[in-house]
């Protein structure tokens, strides 16, 4: 365990993040990069970007609360120190996505109101299920919920968003690519550290499986809400062309520019759930299918 | 330069020093490395009680770093210590030296 965790040391984190892929960035993107003018000028497009970004802030605030809360519950020093780096990663994500809201024209005095107005209630419920475990200082369930379920979802959502915007919004794409790099460490820790703990505490499995099922349900409900509001394929293609980017953006075999929102929702849900199944299987947890909302 | 009107008034009321033009200073980095690069020239390490502070300098009483300004400091001026996140108003002690008084 100690050898494995040495790869998750703060020294390693310092060398790979602040002195690595985040060097010379400003709020996660290259200095001087801005949101595309069309996105800022078109009220509908701007509102849609604000709504998407609000979900990212809500998710990251939950991750910040969870990772910091888990430090006290961690059974060993090395895990505590690793979670310290994850806490700061999550705080950085809160900061850069909050900054994006400001860049999109949200006033600082209105931030909390905007978050309240647009936060998806299902995403809030998703967070509550996880934070309940953290509040009870349940380290094993907390890490599964945070580093496998939440981070696994975020990882896939960020990848999809990245594929969708990289041709049209380099600033946001760069912001996302730094967060994706962080999430890799988080999901890696979740699997590697928890696998051994699950073996030591097999009695915890049913409770963790219930938590995973509940979180998956709220995640799918969040996706359903998000894609119900998404513009249709023709509108997205037109927007991509107006933004001067490539109209096609492929992700997991789906052309994000031309696919129907329902197909995109299906592709995202299937990818995340498949990932959950694989990751949970590796740590000895049986994946529980949620009811489709 | 110090855009705080109240501070300016307080300074003027304190000792009438605002009637003389202020000296200007070109700051250079002195090796203080605890704040982002763009702010480093505004701070230097304190060398202890025998350290002679310039007219554009004042000691941070919280973390003992010398705070520097591009202009001569006067009572009522606002200065910040970025090493410990503190805001101060410059005051003059009974012995006549410039001091930083914390503003919460």
């Amino acid at each position: 365990m100690a050898d494995f965790l040495s790869a998750y040391s703060i020294q390693y984190w310092l060398e790979s993040c602040p002195q690595g892929y985040l060097e010379d960035t400003e709020y996660g993107h290259a200095p001087g990069e801005t949101e595309p003018a069309l996105l800022l000028d078109d009220p509908q497009l701007r509102q849609q970007s604000i709504r998407t970004t609000v979900q990212l802030v809500v998710g990251e605030r939950c991750a910040l609360a969870a990772s910091s809360g888990l430090i006290n519950a961690a059974p060993d020093e090395a895990s505590k120190r690793y979670l310290a780096t994850q806490t700061l990663d999550e705080a950085r994500h809160v900061e850069i996505f909050t900054q994006r809201l400001y860049d999109l024209g949200v006033k600082k005095t209105e931030l909390e109101d905007v978050l309240r107005e647009h936060a998806n209630p299902n995403l809030v419920k998703f967070a509550e299920v996880l934070l309940e475990k953290v509040d009870k200082k349940d380290f094993v369930a907390g890490v599964v919920g945070q580093n496998i379920v939440l981070e696994g979802m975020a990882f896939t959502v960020f990848e999809m968003l990245h594929a969708g915007v990289k041709g049209v919004n380099p600033k946001f794409a760069h912001t996302l690519s730094g967060t994706i790099a962080d999430e890799r460490r988080h999901v890696g820790f979740g699997e590697n550290r928890i696998g051994s703990l699950i073996k030591e505490h097999p009695e915890k499995k049913p409770e963790i499986e219930r938590m995973q099922r509940d979180m998956s349900y709220y995640m799918l409900a969040t996706f359903a809400d998000a894609f119900r509001r998404a513009p249709d394929a023709a509108e997205r293609k037109r927007l991509a062309q107006d933004l001067g980017g490539r109209p096609e953006a492929s992700w997991h075999g789906v052309d994000l520019a031309t696919a129907d929102p329902k197909d995109m929702e299906q592709a995202l849900a299937d990818t995340v759930l498949k990932e959950f199944k694989t990751r949970l299987g590796r740590i000895g947890i049986e994946y529980q299918s949620p009811v489709r909302p | 330069m110090n855009g705080d009107a109240d501070s300016k008034l307080a300074g003027a009321a304190a000792d009438g020093e605002t009637s003389k033009p202020r000296q200007r200073f070109v700051l250079e980095e002195t090796g203080f490395d605890e704040v982002p690069e763009k702010y480093r020239k505004y701070y230097r390490k304190w060398k202890g009680p025998s350290d002679d502070l310039g007219p554009n300098e004042v000691l941070c009483p919280v973390c003992k770093v010398v705070i520097r300004s591009t202009r001569e400091l006067r009572p009522g001026d606002r200065v910040y210590c970025m090493a410990c996140f503190t805001r101060f108003t410059v005051t003059r002690s009974e012995l006549g030296a410039l001091e930083a008084t914390i503003e919460y």
Binding site: E77, A84 | M1, T86, E103
Partner: protein, 258 residues
Amino acid sequence: MAESGSDVHSLSPDRFLEEVHSFEFWFHAVEGYLSATRFGRRPQTQEAPLSESERDRLITVLCHYCVGETAALEASSGLIAIAPNRLAKVFLATQVVDEGRHLEVLLHRLQDLGVTEPEQEIERRATGSLLAFKRRLLELVEGRDWEAAIFAQNVILESLEFTVFQAHAETADPVTRDVLQGIVKDERRHIGFGENELGRRLKVSPHVRARLAAVRHELDPLVLASCDETMAQLGTPPAERPEIGRSYLAAVHRLGFA
């Protein structure tokens, strides 16, 4: 950030707080003094020979420091949940990683000194007063008492660590000195945050002062006793010991409940 060509002191107070409590600020601040180090040690720094008794005393002192840093790591992470706003949460996240780093570099130093099981060694050498302080600090965090926990951690614990580490660095072997000096640079941010946060709160809620005075009354003896124990291990005669509580006493005086 400062306008090009303008003085940093011309920032508005709100803009200043937004700037210094950000990840961006932390990120560019630590880059200045950590980028050329590994586990807090500069590559050119050479080990100096230590006698067996010097080595043993140093191990004891580093074990004490590890207890303090673990307390700070656990407390600062717990405080994020009860922090009153986003800026305080982001700042505390930077403090969490600072405390985690301190623990890591100290454990690494213990390993350099030949300690193969540092966690067991820490448990063996920890003093009662330090453990009692840690327990009480975590109770304050657990009780969601923001002001008392910030006072105990960022004013009492941090300012005493600041003084002890500075004093120890002056006489330490070169590698330990590197490690301690890097930690002291982080502590400046922590003590500043604590004092300013409490100062702002006491200004609008002076009734909190009485509660904090009680916390101080309870915790002072524990921390001062552990400082004395550490100084004794370092071989500093009582008469030559630095005025341990000086910066701490100055801070409580500024906060108005000395």
